[in-house]
């Protein structure tokens, strides 16, 4: 292509097209037309709902009755009642433990360990394990939720059978731990793939030099590998934390129970807003979740910028 470009006659001078637009099949006005459908959809179904949440959160909106026709602005009452509600405090605490346990420790820890293991290990067993980890990540959530209900079942579950007919009621006695272990299983693939990509960017010669100098595996890891892929690990951590804060899948396994032990913020919002139809209150909690997302996303984007 470049040779043909060299032979071509030079374009007529003085054409009125600005330099950058001359190549494209579009001028600025055309570009706006090209952008409009996508931006319209994003505006109505992504941006507007977020902004509307902020407004709804200060009203007493309900789906039926007088508040449906004429919702009253009640200021920060929803937020005040949320902050004073032990159920909300419980939900926030459960969510933090869920994110910390399943995303930060579980997915990132296990994902990195697997990527580190896979780095030099080859063969069919490795490939089989990799496929399994990825399958756990891509099979639809309503299917994996039932797989875990069956796996953890008290009398017939595979886990108790593997432990010698233990009959432990996992989802009843250890509900939060159960969904943390579930979500680690569910999401490790992403961290594994991302860490694997990060490890591949390391020049092999660095590790080779360190090994020849007598550094142990652990020393290589601590002094060379972790400092050089710190940026990748941090972006990974932010993304999986954001997703886990917003993960609705625990609902499919425990529906928030027993006795609110797995009542994460998404489940709490769902129950208050769409089952009890306290839409204003639900919107206020949504706004809090949006704020958490915003903080994580801003840090994430700042990191991305700093790196590029």
């Amino acid at each position: 292509m470049s040779s043909r470009a060299a032979e071509r006659p030079s374009p007529p001078r003085g054409a009125s097209t600005p330099p950058e637009a001359s190549a494209a099949a579009l001028q600025t006005r055309g570009a706006v037309a090209f952008l409009t459908p996508a931006l319209l959809l994003i505006g109505i179904f992504l941006v507007f709902p977020a902004l509307w949440t902020l407004y709804l959160g200060i009203t007493d909106y309900r789906l039926t009755g007088i508040q449906a026709a004429q919702p009253q602005v009640i200021g920060l009452d929803n937020y005040a009642s949320a902050l004073g509600d032990p159920a909300f405090a419980n939900s926030l605490w459960v969510t933090l433990l869920y994110v910390l346990g399943s995303a930060v420790i579980g997915q990132l820890g296990l994902g990195f360990a697997l990527a580190w293991t896979f780095r030099r290990w080859r063969g069919p067993a490795r490939n089989a394990l990799e496929v399994l980890v990825i399958a756990a990540w891509i099979i639809p959530s309503s299917v994996v939720a039932f797989l875990w209900i069956a796996f953890l079942d008290t009398h017939n579950g595979t886990l108790n059978a593997a432990l010698g007919n233990a009959d432990i009621p996992w989802l009843f006695s250890w509900p939060l731990l159960s969904i943390i272990v579930f979500n680690t299983w569910r999401g490790t693939a992403f961290s594994m793939l991302l860490c694997g990509g990060a490890l591949n960017t390391l020049p092999p010669s660095h590790l080779e030099t360190a090994r020849l100098a007598g550094a142990s595996n652990w020393q290589q890891l601590r002094d060379i590998v972790l400092p050089s892929i710190r940026g990748h690990l941090l972006t990974n951590l932010l993304l999986i934390s954001l997703w886990t804060f917003n993960d609705f899948t625990p609902y499919l396994i425990t529906a928030g129970g027993p006795n609110f032990a797995t009542d994460t913020l998404p489940v709490y919002i769902f129950r208050n807003a769409l089952i009890n139809f306290q839409l204003g209150y639900g919107a206020a909690i949504s706004a809090i979740l949006l704020l958490i997302n915003l903080v994580i996303a801003l840090v994430y984007l700042r990191l991305l910028r700093a790196r590029s």
Partner: protein
Amino acid sequence: MVRDGTTPTPDSIPGPSEAALQVRRLLSRIGFYLFIVIVGAYFALPMLWLVFAPFDPHPTLAAAVPSSVTLSNFSDLLKNPNALRSLVNSIVLAGATMVLVVAAAAPAAYALSRVRIPGRDLLLYVLLLFSSVVTGTAAMVPLFLLVFNLGLINTDVGVVLVLAGGLMPAGIFILKDFVDSMPKSYEESARVFGASSFQILRDIVLPYARPGLAVIAVWVVVNVWSNFLIPFILIRDPGLMPAAVVVYNFYTEGGQADLRLLSSFGLLYSIPVVVMYLFVNRRYGFRFYGGIKG
């Protein structure tokens, strides 16, 4: 890195610590295999049920190799109107969302890649920000109300619009990447030879971007096919529910779940996602954009 310059090289190690080194090596081997076995069991055991139960004439909740292999669970499934209709619903939702996202994201990606629109960088930043911040869970209240007020509750259209709006930013980013990688000289040459804008788009840009369009199409289908929350909150009529919600109803509604039906349906519903993931992965490799899984 080893900070101590006097660390002995392997040659200078005296005899006894050579043995100690071997013990350490053995222990780390054992540790390695232990780790692999435990992690392998952790990932394999919950999955086994989906492999065995669909072919077991009498499946229980425990994963067990069936004593006799049968396909009768699948033939019974094909007679179940709920399951089949939900698969059709899933196909309709995924197909419609895919067409909408590709049709709107492709021109937007082209314009953002090729034309220096004022404020373009800010626009891209805001898109990335919103696409990661506004998740289905965080926005379920306004999304439900918006669709309710538009009179689209209980319709495919409502679900398609919401999903398309959510997937659009990431779709634009992926496609923009493809257009960015296309040399501008292609379009320049065509223009020099007198091609009209429309001809350039149809004969040069479109064929070049076709692999990108295929990837984005499959990626949208995978996302819609697996999505549970949006149809769960927006559709109440059982006849309109996609497979994601109907699978869930199979084990939460009406007492004892029919494990023969549930297992075969779960497998049938999962296979397309796995196949499509492999397709995208082969064509495009592992990447991700903003807040959306790739």
